[in-house]
Amino acid sequence: MNKLLNNSLWLLIAILGASAVGGIALNRGENINALWFITAALCVYTIGYRFYAAWIAATVLRVDNTRATPAERLDNGRDFVPTNKWIVFGHHFAAIAGPGPLVGPTLAAQFGYLPGTLWILFGAVLGGCVQDMVMLFLSTRRNAKSLGQIARDELGPLGGTAALIGTFAIMIILIAVLGLVVVNAMKHSPWATFTVSATIPIAMIVGLYMRYFRPGQVLEASALGVILLLLAVAGGRFIDEHETLRGLFNHEGLTLAWWVMAYGLAAAILPVWLLLAPRDYLSTYMKLGTITLLAVAIIMLQPNVKMPAITPFIDGTGPIFGGKLFPFVFITIACGAISGFHALISSGTTPKLLSNERDIRMIGYGGMLLESFVAVMAMVAATVLDPGVFFAINSSAGVVGANAVDAVAKISAWGYPVSVEQMQNLARQMGEATLFARTGGAPSLAVGMASIFGSAFGEGMLALWYHFAIMFEAIFILTTLDAGTRVGRFMLQDMLGNIWPAMGRTSWMPSVILTSALVVSGWGYFLYIGVIDPNGGVNILWPLFGIANQMLAAIALCVATGILIKSGKFKFAWVTGLPLLWLITVTSTAAWQKIASTDIRIGFFAAADDLADKLATGVLPAEKAAIAPQLIFNLQLDAGLTMSFVCLLWLIVFDMLRVCMRYLAGKTVLPLSESPHSSSRLVEEWVRD
């Protein structure tokens, strides 16, 4: 009887899920309620978790709950600590979920709500969650080693080096594009600039408090920080309305970009406890709090999605970024569907806390499901806006024209009516001077979130909600920026240390300053070009980031597939092999188009040649002609980078295939580096208290 009840419950979830997915896929009417998105997501996730993830854990990976984890065996009370699974889940989720799943879906909404949503749901369930879970398992079985180390041990030096270079490259591009998102959100917005700048001294106060005033009192210090942050959001209005103070925080994009670079350098050199760690606390609370609030607001308010299911821009003519639906929707939405970066957290970081292998499904697979859900909410927040408004905010001046009248005429002509008054009204409500051409995704997400929060919790505070949302995005973008710069610095010091040992000493100041400056100039260059690019820069940088991130995912899946085959699980190799095949197809196609396409909005070389022609014939206005040589060089550099990413990817794919062929042919391969079985002696009660 019980079994029957159980089966009918799952049947019900399956039917509900299928009708919700079918509903959002087949709807061609005016509006569709956002609740359908939430329902579809929850049903797809539940089924994926209950059946697919459980099957992978039990049959493919064969997790063994009697086996002692590295956290138990190497317990040192500090970084290796067996921890309650919910706590590990919290740490893992806080580490994997950054600004990526918010920005990607917002940009991909130019294709309509459907393609992005389907990719977020099915990409996560079949790809991203599997990658995270399998990497978590493999690292747990290998003393919590990192992806690079596992690649080196299992495939050989080539795999290890590829993972290292991939990680470094993705870090540089990621920081540049995130820096650009923040700069675009602060450009000529004294309120936003003030709020974002205020997060720096606030983080320092929190850092000093928990280091010296009350050592270790993390929650007290954080509560103080959160209160100060909220005051800074409210205080921004005062700055905005004050004649002279306003000028102090009203800046061009380029000025702000230099400040962001200076900040990145300072954050990489200053001790972690002063800036990085306290900022991370604040951003984690803000992140978890705001995401919960957004979920509650969407469920309470049940807003209507106004964006059509599919827009004509699937043909590649989209204003936000050029390129057809395939492959670019799969590149634009990396985080939220499948993200290679997670492999770095799943290996090395999270396994040090895992107390039992049986929790791998919940933490690896479940953590990614939650991130995917965040991406669905970002999609909802972007698509509840009037499509005309959405395109007006996200289309750069280079595409629709710098003049508001031209811009609305052009956007309305696409079939998404919007008027200058409507945009002005909206800007006034949000406490901004203008919302035209605020590319990067953050402002449109903030408008979407503000209108959802505003309708759910009170219309009167739209401007406050808007700047709260900007602060919320900026604070963890800056956290990724300084944490990333620091990681980049360590990697660089490690590499240089092979040549000149003194450079490898992480506390030697000359080395610290030099390597930090090198990393900052790496991403600073792309940020600089992004800011001066009249097309907004995001259209170039985001696809580059997507390609890099998917490449890292492909590297992780290569390692996983290789290990599955080497462990004699050839018949299950498709579990990671199919997502890998898909990523290779998507990344290679996208890279090929970015290099070879003759469409100047897609192909790097085509754009560079077009610009060079225009420069030579003198049709460019003076201010564009001045920056044209830099833009041309940058386009060629981007093409070179894309090419090296795709070469790296194929290199590791062939390396993996080589290892697998040798294994299947019965020749010798590197032995599995799995640590031997030792029985867990953890007493259930105290770990799981």
Binding site: G77, A95, P215, V218, L219, H342, T480
Partner: protein, 66 residues
């Protein structure tokens, strides 16, 4: 109800690292209390010292993602 609130508060403290020192002392009591038995025996770290090391260790390596 009160029990649930307490459990929630406990989870918040654990997640934020607010109780990291208490956890460390528990770990210490379990593993290192035998004073004098081993040559590298050391008394437990002070709260401030523990917190310094804990924070520095927490921030080496990739800790945040996109």
């Amino acid at each position: 109800m009160l029990k649930k609130v307490k459990a929630f508060w406990k989870a918040v403290r654990r997640l934020s690292g607010d109780d990291a020192y208490e956890q460390y002392l528990k770990h210490y009591a379990r593993h290192h209390q035998a004073a004098g038995e081993s040559p590298d025996w050391h008394p437990p770290l002070s709260k401030a010292e523990f917190f310094k090391r804990w924070q520095d260790e927490k921030w080496s390596g990739v800790k945040r993602c996109c």
